[in-house]
Symmetry: C2
Subunit: 456 residues, 2 copies
């Protein structure tokens, strides 16, 4: 597509010579994201304020040109790939922390603020914002909100939907609006805040967010439990979540992942059937009893060893396996298929057994690890060549069918984007999808916001 | 309105002779709610399953007849009053707990289950569902979800929007659908679950809810702090919320309310400037340090006395003032105007001072108490005759303007219903209201669900 001249002129006026680009080199840099899919945008603009976004969307609506919002492109689903061309609007320069308000346990930020930068600014006030994707040093709050991205701490503290009070945004109609509150409670009309969170830029573009802060507990203890096999570890997860002390991280790593991490520089990684990394937090004088409660629940059939880190060096060592995993996977398969299915916690044993069976059936290497406390596992298929890639795709469809049969769903924290869109009818009834389409039309009647994503 | 004969026949067939009524005596009983507004419905039906609701809405849509869902009518905003006539559908007989699943920290219930009944069934499993309106023994879960009703525990555990995983419902189109998950995490499409919560039966009728359960801490300690005046108590609330130990209740009672409670049977109620009731919960060995932390924050300018209950009898005695309040208010004014405004916690001193000023200016008795930890105060205007009633309404408009000027909002937990509808443009921009109307049309294109509520 070639953009109409009046639109190009308006973009150039609105965003200025250093904020609007149409040359190929710039466009290529914004054509792809961490999904490794790519498609060329027709222009890239860099937003600096809310008013520019209103102008942008109104103009693009008039010319029927797609608008694709982009944080830092760390998502794995292709959610920011401009499949139908159009204008990519990057929020990376709209990155001011507008207010940190510890008295009211809130912060107001622009969407381009990096998650890690915000956490660093909050720390001296004794607060944090719970969502903690692995990419937190280089992913943006706007992206976290767009995808409802979470991380290990979600098991205790919730996802962006539980940690956001209000938003300012511009709908696909081109109209700016505010929703939500500056208060920790509100029952004034429909909850548009949560509706926008996880909508992947298909309903409105977020220009400001009021985030709910949580006091940062001053104490943390790390435990590592190894098990004879994946099944006994999965059963331990269910026991831990059925007792009252909720850990602030409860991570599962299967034997295939452990071996991979061990073979790729993780010499301290135990070679065992499965491993749990468990963290509990709280005020220092409450930690001992919390560690006891979680340890009791971790014990049971198949436990091989339970270690509690006594120093920060030991904590680092315990986490080394988990950290070594991502780079290790890349060495095997540059085209890994990275899923994040989720099932009710007590169905985890069935899920890990089922995945093992499918891995054998389709002869595809599958590594399974992740946020077990939420029943949310990263199921990574690692095809090494074209033949394996074909088998991996057949296997993936069966993984999703398995997850749905266990009362689970397609994604816990990555979202749908481009790559899981076709599987949505597996997880949602036609009537639910129909209502989602109606909601899309209510915000974006001409379908210009991030077309080709989320809804099949 | 007289209902069309074919519709009446269908209702009678669908709901049976004991589930469909058109005689005046039955209709009168379903004409009003706790708002004391009333309007006659043309028929009352008692639902027992999801399929009946689909049939009902499809038929009413065909005949353009309003459908008004009703739990137990305990709301204070007129949300269940059938202002345009039509069919009231009561969920009181659709009251089965379908599943209690402690392993996955969830329960599946029909909407007519009473909040208190659910809590009682959950207790032996060691869990509870956090939302706890004062009416919990006789209000329904469906009503709690429709109004996003909360209570004292919200300050620590959140409202229905933070404690619901998924829903089954029937939209105004007549189509049944499921949304949300059985898992504690999900990023599969738009969040319709939260959108329905707090929508007061204007988008869809909920027929089943999957609730997120929380482990019930086994220990609880109650504190009572009295202060020289409302301002010093309000400042103490802000101090308590700015430190890391979050109480599970933080209730404020002003001097007018204390005197009222004292004069009406509460002989143990202290006559002082203002009072805070504070509760902390946790495992028993963590309580002492939590009580210490909260006590330190409660201390400061204007504190008169801080008591910690040592026995359950003492706890009962400390709560006696709060319990005596509601009956006491009724003796003064059967027409009390019952608001539940909310402001950021550190604006509470400005709010209570401002209300005091408005009470004097308009010469209307105002009692202020409530969930101070969320900045959510019940501002009850108590007019004793017609002249005072008129002054009270003028005063109310200024109370709302004050709240908005303090970055607050109209309602923390009661919702909008009929009585606060006209004030919505104070709290929300025209563009936000416009999007809410679009969302309404997306779910209920013919506007048959609870007309005349929530949106102005």
């Amino acid at each position: 597509m070639k953009l109409p001249a009046p639109l190009l002129e308006l973009l150039s006026t609105t965003f200025g010579p250093h904020g609007c680009f149409t040359d190929e080199a710039e466009r290529i840099a914004y054509a792809y994201d961490n999904s490794r899919r790519n498609a060329m945008p027709d222009a890239v603009v860099f937003a600096q304020d809310h008013a520019q976004i209103e102008t942008l969307i109104q103009a693009c609506r008039e010319h029927h040109v797609p608008v694709i919002a982009r944080g830092r492109g760390t998502n794995t689903t292709g959610a920011t790939v401009p499949v139908d061309g159009g204008v990519v609007v990057s929020f990376e320069r709209m990155n001011r922390i507008l207010r940190i308000d510890p008295d009211n346990r809130l912060a107001v930020v622009e969407p381009g603020v990096l998650n890690g930068d915000l956490q660093r600014e909050l720390a001296p006030h004794g607060f944090f914002w719970p969502p903690d994707p692995t990419s937190s040093p280089w992913c943006s709050i706007g992206g976290n909100l767009a995808c409802n991205s979470a991380g290990p701490r979600t098991v205790k503290y919730g996802s962006p939907r539980e940690n956001t009070l209000g938003l300012r945004a511009v709908a696909g109609t081109g109209e700016g609006f505010r929703c939500g509150t500056y208060t920790s409670k509100g029952a004034t009309g429909y909850d548009l805040t949560r509706l926008l969170i996880g909508s992947e830029g298909t309903l409105a573009l977020i220009t400001e967010a009021t985030l709910k802060l949580t006091p940062k507990p001053s104490g943390l203890r790390t435990l590592r439990a190894t098990y004879r096999n994946v099944s006994s570890a999965a059963h331990a997860v269910a026991r831990i979540m059925a007792q009252p002390v909720t850990p602030c991280a409860l991570e599962f790593i299967d034997d295939v992942a452990l071996k991979l991490a061990h073979d790729h520089g993780g010499e301290n990684v135990p070679l065992t059937g499965a491993m749990l990394m468990i963290e509990v937090d709280g005020e220092p004088d409450t930690l001992a009893s919390a560690v006891d409660a979680v340890s009791r629940a971790a014990q049971g059939e198949g436990l091989e060893e339970l270690r509690v880190a006594q120093t920060s060096e030991e904590t680092q060592a315990l986490w080394s396996a988990r950290k070594a995993l991502s780079p290790a996977q890349r060495t095997i398969s540059p085209n890994k298929i990275n899923e994040d299915v989720v099932v009710p916690v007590n169905r985890l044993p069935d899920l890990v057994e089922g995945i093992r069976r499918l891995s054998k059936k389709h002869d595809v290497l599958i590594v399974t690890f992740g946020h077990a406390g939420n029943g949310n596992l990263h199921v990574n298929l690692l095809p090494r060549d074209d033949a394996e890639r074909e088998r991996a795709h057949a296997c993936l469809a069966e993984v999703f069918a398995l997850v749905i049969s266990l009362e689970g769903t397609l994604s816990g924290e990555h979202g749908i984007g481009l790559v899981k869109r076709e599987f949505m009818p597996l997880a949602l009834q036609a009537s639910t999808l129909g209502l989602m389409r109606n909601v899309k039309a209510a915000f974006d009647p001409d379908g210009i916001l991030n077309p080709g994503k989320l809804l099949p």
